[in-house]
């Protein structure tokens, strides 16, 4: 793909050498491309399309790649916890649960008076010790981690991603970092489901049973025996998630929400065409760049699979 060779280095290089934001050239608005001073033309406010493209690429890399990393890491953690611990794996001793709950309740009720709140620890410790004497107290409650993670994912997915992010952005009005966190927090469900499935597959293998029988602790099992087998799922997912987030980010800035107004974006550049419907270059260049980026990100996968 030519797009990869053109867009890849351009997008990757731009965050390092951020161009100086030149003031809009008000003497030459709506300039067609291939002119003497503005090669890619200008929009109706005299902004050079080439500079705007470069700034947009910078934003794209700064937003979508960190957000993808957040989403994938969160998805990996949630997915492997759900697949490895299952519905009975997360165990909480009953006496610890009851005593902890009691202590928390005491703290909450007596919070304004710190000395009294600290005193709530005494009955909690007593309860913990007493329950340790009974058989009921020594047993453990299973916390259904699998069901909890799946339920949370279903809850997040009950509203389409675009609408979810739109609403969250409207309520919070986040900064650039906030937007990254928000995108990451709303996209983890897909990777989590994939990692969970891969983990379930791996856990059922005989060698894992053998490792368990050899007395290897759970953390080591996860690190040495499960993650090497579930890692490739995330690696395959990485470019696709970046592509998804690139599309989402440009759509948001096309709609005029999300990014702070001083941050350039291809979506905003494309939205400028609504003011000047005859300026085809406002669609052609950012559109080509966007499609090239997404296509090449999707093509990386095909290369690797075939």
């Amino acid at each position: 793909m030519a797009g990869r060779h053109l867009v890849g280095p351009g997008a990757a290089g731009s965050p390092i050498g951020a161009p100086e934001i030149s003031p809009p050239d008000l003497t030459s608005i709506n300039q067609p491309p291939f002119g003497p001073s503005h090669w890619l033309g200008t929009d109706s406010q005299g902004l050079d399309v080439g500079v705007a493209l470069l700034l947009g690429a910078r934003t794209l890399v700064l937003v979508s790649v960190p957000a993808t990393l957040v989403a994938l890491l969160l998805g990996a953690a949630m997915g492997s916890a759900a697949g490895f611990l299952g519905n009975s794996g997360g165990r909480l001793p009953r006496r610890a649960a009851v005593a902890g709950g009691l202590a928390l309740l005491g703290f909450a009720a007596l919070a304004p008076y710190w000395t009294l709140a600290a005193a709530a620890l005494v009955p909690a410790t007593a309860v913990w010790w007493l329950l340790g004497r009974t058989r009921w107290g020594r047993q453990a409650w299973g916390f259904p981690i699998d069901a909890a993670v799946l339920g949370l994912a279903t809850l997040l997915e009950s509203v389409p991603l675009l609408i979810l992010v739109l609403v969250a952005v409207a309520v919070q009005r986040p900064s650039l970092g906030g937007l990254v966190a928000l995108l990451g927090l709303s996209c983890w469900t897909g990777p989590a489901r994939l990692v969970r499935a891969a983990t379930l597959q791996t856990v059922a293998q005989p060698y894992l049973e053998a490792a368990r029988a050899a007395g290897i602790p759970g953390w080591q099992l996860l690190r040495r025996h499960i993650w090497p087998n579930t890692r490739h799922v995330l690696l395959v997912r990485l470019p696709l998630t970046v592509a998804l987030l690139v599309g989402l980010e440009t759509t948001l800035s096309f709609l005029g929400v999300g990014l702070p107004p001083d941050v350039g974006s291809w979506g905003r550049l494309l939205a400028a065409v609504r003011l000047a419907p005859t300026d085809w270059w406002l669609v052609a260049w950012p559109g080509t760049a966007l499609v090239g980026t997404i296509l090449s990100l999707q093509n990386i996968i095909n290369r690797r699979i075939h």
Binding site: A109, V159, L166, P277
Partner: protein, 345 residues
């Protein structure tokens, strides 16, 4: 059977309730209503003194019932936990929702229900047309591909390319190509043409179709590739089954084999896409309605989000979540209709 249906419905309703409650609490907790109202007043020069403004703020807070505590209990570092009883915003909102009242818009002097019904009059035809259109086109293409291998390779490559186009780019491209006086002015660029009262009532559906053509086509283009690729893959898998050879051996033509023997089996994996398709179209209508200036659901949602009109926002998001739940239920019914051996309930 009845118990299973009941349990399923209850679980779906619980999910919807949790989503809406979370949205309500988060949106209300993250904005300070007094500061919010004062920010709107500060632009208004007609309101004179500070005391007048403060009084007006109090009156408006009382009118929208924002002066009450948010939840049943609240936490303050100085006071600790405090119990407020049922006299709170969440309880008010929840009981209203049970009675079917969604509250009043902050911005327009109308109830949310009125606003939503008005918006649905435009969005419902748009999304339904797009859903039916993309479904029918996907069928036609996948069936056509199944007996023309060379066309199939070309078509799938093309569809993979189309898949990488974001919806707004497709819509902008169509708008600039087909609704532009400089290139081809075949279609109207915006609106629904309701103001021009030329023509009798029987021309109304035709005119609406004409105005909805470009938005619908852009939605269809975006949702088509996934459907075709899935259906085509399923058909190819089924074509390798022994029963296809039997059908061909008894003398059925390729076309008849695909239509009568393969298609029903190939439909099952594609049905799994339905719960995604309908909410996806509603989400797509946000973009399309913004660009083509249609006064529908998506635009209502985007505007409510931009102006922080929380009652409208909650109502619209709740409706979208409901659409998803309904699509899920419809999919389950269709599974059994297509393959009666399946017992999901």
């Amino acid at each position: 059977m009845v118990r299973a249906v009941l349990r399923r419905t209850l679980r779906l309703l619980l999910a919807a309730w949790l989503t809406l409650s979370a949205l309500f609490l988060v949106s209300r907790a993250s904005t300070d209503p007094t500061a919010f109202l004062q920010a709107t007043f500060s632009n208004n020069t007609r309101l004179g003194g500070q005391t007048e403004q403060a009084a007006l703020t109090q009156r408006l807070l009382g009118r929208y019932r924002l002066d009450r505590p948010l939840f049943y209990a609240s936490w303050g570092t100085a006071t600790g936990w405090r119990w407020h009883g049922f006299h709170n915003q969440y309880h008010q909102w929840a009981t209203g929702l049970l009675r079917g009242e969604l509250g009043r818009s902050y911005r327009q002097d109308e109830t949310v229900t009125e606003l939503l019904t008005r918006a649905l009059r435009y969005t419902l035809p748009l999304t339904l047309l797009a859903a039916v259109g993309s479904g029918a086109l996907a069928f036609w293409l996948a069936l056509g591909f199944s007996y023309r291998p060379r066309l199939r390779r070309l078509g799938l490559a093309l569809l993979h390319g189309v898949q990488s186009l974001p919806l707004f780019l497709v819509a902008v491209g169509l708008l600039l190509l087909l609704a532009n006086p400089d290139t081809l002015a075949w279609f109207p660029a915006f609106g629904l043409g309701l103001d021009s009262d030329a023509g009798a009532w029987w021309q109304y559906p035709g005119r609406t179709l004409y105005y909805l053509a470009l938005p619908t086509v852009s939605l269809v283009i975006v949702s088509l590739p996934v459907l075709v690729v899935q259906l085509d893959g399923a058909i190819q898998r089924e074509l390798a089954q022994p029963y296809v050879a039997t059908a061909r051996a008894k003398g059925a033509s390729r076309r008849r084999t695909v239509r009568h023997h393969v298609l029903r089996n190939a439909l099952l994996p594609v049905l799994a896409l339905l719960p995604e398709l309908l909410p996806g179209l509603v989400a797509g209508s946000v973009v399309v309605e913004f660009l083509f200036a249609l006064p529908g659901m998506g635009r209502l949602l985007a505007e409510a989000a931009a102006t922080q009109d929380y009652p409208v926002l909650l109502g619209a998001v709740g409706l979208v979540a409901l659409v998803r739940l309904a699509a899920q239920a419809l999919t389950d019914v269709l599974y059994q209709f297509i393959d009666p051996r399946i017992r999901l309930l």
